[in-house]
Amino acid sequence: MSLLRSVFSIIALTKPINTAGTVQTRRNFKRWVSPTLRELAHRVKKQGPQKPEPRSGFLEWNYRSELFAFGKRLNEEFQLPILQIAFTQQAYANQEQERQRKLGIAEADLQISDNKQLKAKGAHITRAYVEAYLQHSLPKLPPAGQKAITSYLLSTETLAHVSMHLGTKELIFSTEYPPNSETLAETLQAIIGALADSSGVDRAFLFVRDFICTQLNQKDLLDIWTPEQPLELLSEICNQRKLGEPEPRLLGDCGKNTLLAAFQVGIYADRQLLGKGFGENVQTATETAAICALLTLFDMHENRRPFDFQIQLETKNVRLG
């Protein structure tokens, strides 16, 4: 055995001497790298597009810190248990209860509260404040217009957009990921409810003003609400305000009887120009002019004074019902 070992050691000693001249360090990519990457890429392609992974599944994730930071980021004082309830969707709570029941946990410990009540409360507060804000900012607008702008601000898309940009996407407990826009919108309302519970209705009002009402900034209000049958509405408004009967007059035309005809019509009431409008025929131009006149009368024309987002509405002006 010892003889065998000595023979091996001799071979081991002699080997490097023989190959010393031919060994060289190689600094290129190994031959296996490219086929391996190709195979991996092939497998990824075969699997198809993957669902986005929830951030909460990562190793560096602390839900409590995230909740704390959520409140601090928005400059609000939340009570964390209430905030956590606001992030829990009803479907998720039910699913979780079912799961725990299957695991054999006692019924008494199965109480998981969800955000249904907070959501109702938040939705109520939001609607009341938005209505009061519009009443204050656009006092001359008729109820139909105020209703249209309110429903724009409280629509699922607007609320979901706001909610998404406040960073609720990762914090929501919901059955699907990423949460759909309805879930996002409901969660935002629940957060407003939670804020009212934590630091009072006044802070909730300011929250609505700062994050939801500001969505009106630089928006074309005509896109949100266009008066139907503007001429009739205009004569009605003129009668109400005693401006005299509105009367359309042709201000100019260009290219009559051609494909590119343009007419400009002005609407006068009591010899005062109320609004001007263009159109490819006189009727369209008259309607455009009527809309222009209405916008001026309602104080929502393009060069109106910008919305004031610093106002403090008095709480008694907000009708909480």
């Binding site: 602390n62 930071a69 601090k72 928005l74 957009h161 940009h165 994050f211 500001t214």
Partner: protein, 192 residues
């Protein structure tokens, strides 16, 4: 713009969610510091964590800070923004001052700036305050009473004086200076 930026997303500077109009919300929502506990390239990151990280977290309660040690890897800063962007920064061999500055940059921007090329340094939704020009803009009131086609309206405003007209004018002026009515002389000449 270099070749590697050809397919970079481009856009304009925009404040997300009308930020700053109602109240300011810091757009950096979480930051992860990854470093090695004994590799030399992480030295600055370790110094930063030792000396400044607690102060940073206290000053910015709205930013969640995660610290992730990992062996023999380069130190890295990962910032995540409210708009869903994620910015990855290598801090290999950086000093703690450099890291403070990079973190300050991440804190003050509103999305991953390295993943977007700015087309302009400004943006407006209302490019013209006056509105577009139309043929009806600033028109003379006379135009309303004109019957078309009319001769004056059909010719250009700037017809230069012809040589004949100029000569006639010169001639009249000369005759006026001589004390005679220019028209009479002209008639005489024509009769001749």
């Amino acid at each position: 713009m270099s070749n590697s930026h050809l397919f970079l997303k481009s856009g304009f500077p925009r404040a997300p969610l009308q930020n700053g109009l109602g109240r300011y919300v810091c757009q950096l929502q979480r930051i992860t510091l990854k470093f090695c506990k004994n590799n030399g390239s992480s030295r600055g990151m370790r110094d930063f964590i030792e000396n400044h990280l607690v102060d940073f977290a206290k000053e910015n309660p709205g930013i969640v800070v995660y610290v992730k040690p990992r062996r023999h890897r380069t130190p890295v800063l990962v910032g995540e923004y409210l708009n869903g962007d994620r910015e990855w920064l290598s801090c290999r061999n950086s000093t703690q001052d450099e890291i403070s500055k990079w973190i300050d940059l991440l804190k003050t921007q509103n999305g991953s700036s390295s993943s977007m090329r700015l087309r302009k340094m400004w943006h407006t939704d209302v490019p013209s305050i006056q509105g577009p020009w139309t043929p009806f803009l600033l028109r003379s009131p006379d135009a309303n009473n004109q019957t078309l086609p009319s001769k004056e309206a059909s010719q250009p405003f700037d017809i230069p004086q012809t040589a004949t007209e100029k000569l006639i004018e010169l001639f009249k002026q000369q005759k006026l200076e001589e004390g005679k009515a220019g028209d009479e002389i002209l008639e005489q000449k024509r009769a001749e």
